[in-house]
Amino acid sequence: MTDVTLQDVRKEFDGVVAVKNIDLQIPDGAFVTVVGPSGCGKSTTLRLIAGLEQATEGTIQMGDQEVTGVEPKDRDVAMVFQNYALYPHMTVRRNITFGMKSAGDFSDEEIDRQVEEATAVLDIDDLLDRKPGELSGGERQRVALGRALVRDPEVFLMDEPLSNLDAKLRIKMRAELAKLHSEFETTTIYVTHDQTEAMTLGDRVVVMNDGRIQQVDSPQRLYDYPETRFVAEFIGDPAMNMLSVDISRDGTEYEAVGPSFRIPLPEADGLETAAGAKALLGVRPESLSVADSADRSSFPAEVTVTEPLGDSLLLECRTGDQEFKLHAEPRTAVEPGDRVPLTVETERLHLFDPQTGEAIYHAAAAQSPEVTSTVDSTI
């Protein structure tokens, strides 16, 4: 176990910048997930930490040792790949021990004991003499995990390890990964494009886009206090609605004014600077609801699409030329084309700068004195 520090790390491939000078600190024993759309540089970041790519600029440190130019084998990391990367001609046992024997710092008894332990934990001890071709996807992934476990590395690196599994198995393996981490407490860096995976697994979630780190935070804070429009729209499904509004001020009262609505904004930091200008109002679909009757606090919207999800009814609505989604109560009697009154949970509103996309205001900050960390990515 060790901590990992990236300082001003940049990676270029033939002039294309994949990672743009990022700083990241991963504490000893943490489970950190890195999430972002494809091409955002998350896998490159992981490969830089593994040593499979060399940084163009910047330094990478593990513990108190700088490893920037060090060969992968000397970094004491173990990596799990999306396609499992099992050697097809070797049995499960040999797949697991092949790397151990190469490293040469294990005795034969130690290898046997480690294999026994790891395969028992992963419940693959009865598959040891089979070849990868005879295993299911889930079993193969366990073998790949077992191979990483037995090495007993300082850091686990996982590159979308669950992406090739079907949805049900993915959820099961997700829980097992979390269990494994709480058991071994090895520093783990986990790359995924799936925000649910990132949120459920990580103590800390790193959101990346376009080669830059957007935000590093705990899953809940990431959801509640997105620092950029990108994070707000990336985390949460369906995505946070963005409505362009004007911020009007009347004494100490602030309001977000749209084409057909005026939504009062609770007092919190950032409102003063926003006042009198255009902004993007961020509202999560679950913060909107259909009101029983139209009154002063509601605003009308036209339903365009209804999607019954069972536990809720997803409505796509329109007001003026702005479209947004909301989770209504299941079995609400609405049809496309209906005009319904909507109310907003005002404590869950956000404002973003329309140009830079940076968050200006979180209504909930009024309740939470602890202000979220800035984008310096220190966890």
Binding site: L52, P72, K73, Y87, G99, L157
Partner: protein, 300 residues
Amino acid sequence: MLGSLLTALTAAVERSQSAGRTTSERIRRFETEQLTLHVLAATVVFLIVLPVLIAALVSTKRAGIVTSIGDLVPGGHALSNYRRALIGLEFWRFMLNSFVMSVAVVVGKLIVSLLAALVIVYYRFPYKNAVFLFILFTLLLPVPVRFVPLYRLTTELGMNNTFFAITVPYLASATTVFILRQHFLSIPASLVETAKVDGVGPLRFLWSVLIPMSRAVLVGVSVIMFVYTWNQYLWPLVIINAESLQVAQVGLNLLRGQASTGEVAWSMVMTGSILTLLPPLALLVLFRRQLLETFTIQQK
């Protein structure tokens, strides 16, 4: 003749693959198509095999002069002809030389090509693609162009008339490097990366991962290389003087001279030809599956 037959054959194969409309129509069409297909295939095979068949027949006769169809009846001298060629005229020695030469070339070529492909695929070094292109470029130089310089080089090194002269010049093979490179590129990069992270060295990776994963391809190229080396004629003829070191293809020519009355002993020549044909044929039959896999010409 053969060309037009082959065209007809491919056309028939294509037609048989395009489906008919109704099931019964499809079955009927399938049957007639299959019949044409088989007749065509049989004709092509017959035409290709015919010379070999005649050679086999002639090798069973005493003199082996064929002037009419009647002369193609099998003769009764098969056993004595083969015994005379192999033991009496010591053809076994040429065959043994050919065999040793072919095995040495195959093994040497495999080692050189595997290492070359390993470096070209998995190492980062400047002008890597240029190096690979240069290797491919050697394919553009036909053997006769290399003949004179190679002859001078070999004699100046004092290697002429030795076993090295008929093996060393064959060890580098652009074709094998190319085939192995393409195969290595098809192996997922994550396998190499796992090995790198786990600290598996390049030679161990080659031995424990690449070679076992390339078994079929290696067998395939080995067979091709063996047949190619076995069939070498001109270079051994030029560079080897001692009859005791000579190879089978050249040895055939020596059999020609074994005529009792000044005529060419065709039955002896054909006996030798059939003998020379057997080892490559055996290999092709034994390893046909791997061969097809290597060159992926089988229908999936």
